[in-house]
């Protein structure tokens, strides 16, 4: 079971690194929309700092959503996924490997670059630690839950907005706790509570999401 994990992990990481262009997409998207916000609203610092936590989190969420296609679609299209599924190793670990690689190349960069964007949106100082911590854990949850949605819609191809529709209700609790933890930090409250909640959501997702995803993948090759 470890070998299955490592093989998939190494392979996916290699593929991701080779397609460096694809890697940049979610991050570029993140930057671009953050620029759109002041243009659409106001350049005033004070107003921006009020909405910064929410905007940052929503945009990170959208960027994450955009990147979900890369998780399974390519492997599904060329038949590799089917080969992976029928292997005797537990599918849970191989799915987990894929998701971890996905997070390493989307969620992690997003979380680490968020402070720069926070500065551009006049995020108050107290918000930065909470921003990075909540995003680090939150984007991991988004990758895990997004995988469930991606697996469920796999045989359908890229049909419009079905994936966002399915994944949004799953994302909402994460968004609520993530964005509001930053806001609480700014307002001077302790963020231990909300961050702990995000942590428990992460733990729950780590256990359940790859399992459900594996089930959905099995359904997808049955047809």
């Amino acid at each position: 079971m470890n070998t299955g994990f490592m093989v998939i992990f190494r392979r996916d990481l290699l593929v991701a690194i080779r397609h460096r262009g694809d890697l940049a997409n979610p991050v570029i998207f993140f930057f671009i929309v953050i620029v759109l916000v002041p243009l659409g609203l106001t350049p005033e610092s004070s107003k921006l700092s009020e909405i910064a936590p929410g905007i940052l989190w929503v945009m990170a969420l959208l960027a994450s959503l955009l990147s979900l296609d890369s998780l399974f679609q390519n492997d599904y299209d060329d038949g590799t996924l089917e080969q992976i599924i029928i292997l005797p190793q537990p599918l849970y670990f191989m799915v987990l490997a894929k998701i971890i690689v996905h997070w390493l190349v989307t969620g992690l960069p997003l979380s680490l670059l968020a402070p720069i964007l926070g500065m551009m949106l006049s995020l108050p100082d107290a918000g930065y630690p909470a921003l990075v911590l909540s995003l680090l854990m939150g984007t991991a949850i988004l990758s895990l839950l997004g995988a469930v949605g991606a697996a469920l819609t796999l045989p359908l191809g890229k049909e419009g907005l079905l994936l966002p529709l399915i994944v949004m209700p799953l994302y909402m609790p994460v968004l609520i706790f993530g964005a509001n933890s930053v806001q609480l930090a700014i307002n001077g409250f302790s963020v231990i509570g909300p961050l702990a909640t995000i942590g428990s959501l992460l733990a729950l997702s780590l256990i359940v999401a790859p399992y459900v995803t594996a089930g959905a993948l099995r359904l997808s090759i049955q047809g």
Binding site: T153, L156, P169, I176, N180, V212
Partner: protein, 250 residues
């Protein structure tokens, strides 16, 4: 014993059995709804603060109940379909999805219309309404996933799985939305469902809730029957039914 269980799961058995009791539940449903409507609209006292717009509660609350219950019915049917691979359960899930969505829509619509005279606005981002909106999206997801798979000629087990994921999600969503709302709104606006409702107002509500359960059952059974006819259209029993029967009641 398994024979009985499998007979229960036979679409043909369901079609024939439901044909017998559908007229009865239709009459009962009609009775309760009529009673509730007349009572609630004309005979229940108006609310001290809200006046007569309060009467919208007699549609809003029952439809909210059924919206939520309907989701669990859909999810349980889906679970039975994928675990035991019972076709009838799959049909129940498929039928329950749009019906539940319709009840959710009615709950949202009546809530919005009720909100205007009560709070001055059609929409308000409080915990309950926001959760109901998310429930509507959960339904939509299942419906669209279902029909996309069907469109491609594939089995819609994925929709059942999605429905199950949703059931785990619903309490989490409600808790988080509740937390979010208390964070941002000091509890000045409390939803008007005070636990102590005068019996004169509560009794017609009970009648309407019962009536709505019947409404749901009628819509569900009728829809399942149609789905059965469609899926089993090539079987002998359906062919016999079509070519020897004259009555067309659902």
């Amino acid at each position: 014993m398994w024979q009985w269980f499998h007979r229960l799961a036979s679409p043909r058995w369901f079609y024939q059995a439901s044909g017998k009791f559908l007229p009865w539940i239709s009459m009962l449903g009609l009775f309760f709804i009529s009673l509730g409507l007349v009572w609630g609209l004309g005979f229940a006292p108006q609310d001290a603060k809200q006046g007569n717009s309060f009467r919208i509660i007699y549609i809003h609350v029952p439809s909210s109940f059924l919206a939520l219950v309907g989701y669990y019915i859909m999810a349980v049917a889906g679970a039975i379909a994928i675990i035991w691979k019972i076709k009838l359960a799959d049909m129940v899930m498929k039928a329950a999805a749009p019906i539940g969505a319709a009840f959710t829509f009615v709950a949202l619509l009546t809530g919005a219309i009720w909100g205007k005279p009560t709070w001055g606005t059609y929409w308000i981002w409080d915990a309950r309404i926001t959760s109901m909106l998310i429930l509507f999206f959960l339904y939509l997801g299942v419906i669209i996933l279902q029909s996309s798979y069907e469109h491609k000629g594939l089995s819609s087990k994925a929709a059942a799985l999605l429905a199950l994921v949703g059931t785990v999600n619903i309490p989490i969503i409600y808790k988080s939305v509740d937390w979010w709302y208390t964070l941002h709104q000091p509890a000045t606006i409390r939803f008007t469902e005070a636990p102590s409702m005068h019996p004169d107002m509560f009794q017609p509500l009970l009648v309407m809730i019962v009536g709505f359960y019947f409404l749901y059952a009628i819509a569900l059974v009728a829809s399942i029957r149609v789905e059965i006819l469609h899926r089993e259209r090539r079987t002998k029993w359906v062919q016999d039914l079509v070519f020897t029967n004259k009555n067309n009641d659902p």
